[in-house]
């Protein structure tokens, strides 16, 4: 099971956190990959667009009067993307390899145990992130890394 990257989009569709893991460890920082480096790039917007469109299709085709349909994941021949949307409109996404089948519980865990605990309940963290601003809370970053990052 390999996780390539992790993304958070807020309810205004901005990417507020991105984390990419690489196989090579950077000795200077004791960690690998990049944090919040890709958020302003086109990739974040493309990913958001794909998730948004597919979620709309899922809801249009699969909604029933009793229950909303939710998008769980999509896959290409090379990677799989897992998607979770919180009731408040926060969207979390993980890109992983194809062997990883279902990360819904992990995404929900990251949301309820890490995001809610350290961003929502943190009085110093803004309620709404301004366009361009990112999650820089070190504790949040560390916990996400420990939970999702390579062991």
């Amino acid at each position: 099971m390999t996780i390539f990257s992790f993304w958070i989009f807020d309810r205004h569709c901005n990417c507020i956190y991105s984390r990419e893991w690489t196989q090579v460890l950077n000795p200077a920082t004791e960690s690998s990959g990049t944090i919040n480096a890709k958020a302003n790039e086109d990739n974040a917007k493309l990913l958001f667009g794909v998730l948004f469109s597919l979620r709309n299709i899922a809801r249009k085709v699969g909604d029933t009067p009793e229950q909303e349909n939710t998008l769980n994941s999509f896959a290409t021949a090379k990677y799989r993307a897992h998607f979770y949307e919180s009731p408040s409109g926060l969207r979390l996404c993980i890109l992983s390899d194809l062997e990883t089948q279902n990360l819904q519980t992990q995404l929900r865990d990251v949301y309820s145990n890490i995001y809610v605990e350290h961003i929502v309940k943190n009085p110093l963290s803004p309620v709404d992130f301004k366009p361009g601003s990112k999650i820089t809370n070190q504790r949040f970053i560390r916990l996400v890394d420990r939970y999702l990052g390579p062991q």
């Binding site: 299709i57 085709v61 021949a77």
Partner: protein, 158 residues
């Protein structure tokens, strides 16, 4: 269980839509066109999002036999939601076949292979009954009774 089948031409236009079961919402003709166009766009974007780590190293997962006819090596392949799954098969000429089924049970990769086998059979029917029909104009909506019937037969036999 197979819910419906879409066929898209090379430019993302919907040329065939067939509801085979009625487990999902009925869409209007306009919504079908929007769905087809969206999938066509997302298909291309999804391959651009391939993580750099996979681009350099990993080989794509070993594909089931006969994958030579599948022109889809990096684009969108499957979508899983709570209520349905959607599988996409692209031929070497760029025609896309979309299969909407009940949600996949168990291993997602083997579900994808099963769907691909069905789609390959549908592709064979398309080649036999649409492309070989002298009255069919390429890239235009498919209105061939025999094709409709053969698709229904194929799905019933599964």
């Amino acid at each position: 269980m197979i819910q419906s089948l879409f066929i898209l031409n090379r430019s993302g236009g919907l040329i065939y839509q067939h509801d085979l079961n009625d487990g999902l919402n009925k869409l209007s003709a306009n919504e079908h066109l929007i769905l087809a166009g969206t999938i066509h766009g997302v298909f291309a974007i999804a391959s651009k999002l391939t993580p750099t780590a996979v681009k350099v190293s990993a080989q794509p997962r070993a594909q089931s036999q006969g994958s030579a006819v599948n022109g889809n090596t990096s684009g969108l392949k499957s979508i899983e939601t709570d209520k349905f799954s959607m599988y996409i098969f692209q031929t070497l000429t760029g025609v896309k076949f979309l299969l909407v089924t009940d949600p996949a049970q168990g291993d997602l990769n083997s579900g994808c292979d099963t769907a691909e086998n069905v789609l390959r059979k549908i592709y064979a029917l398309y080649a036999d009954y649409v492309m070989k029909n002298p009255f069919y104009e390429i890239d235009m909506p498919i209105r061939v009774d025999l094709f409709d019937r053969k698709i229904a037969e194929l799905v019933k036999a599964l």
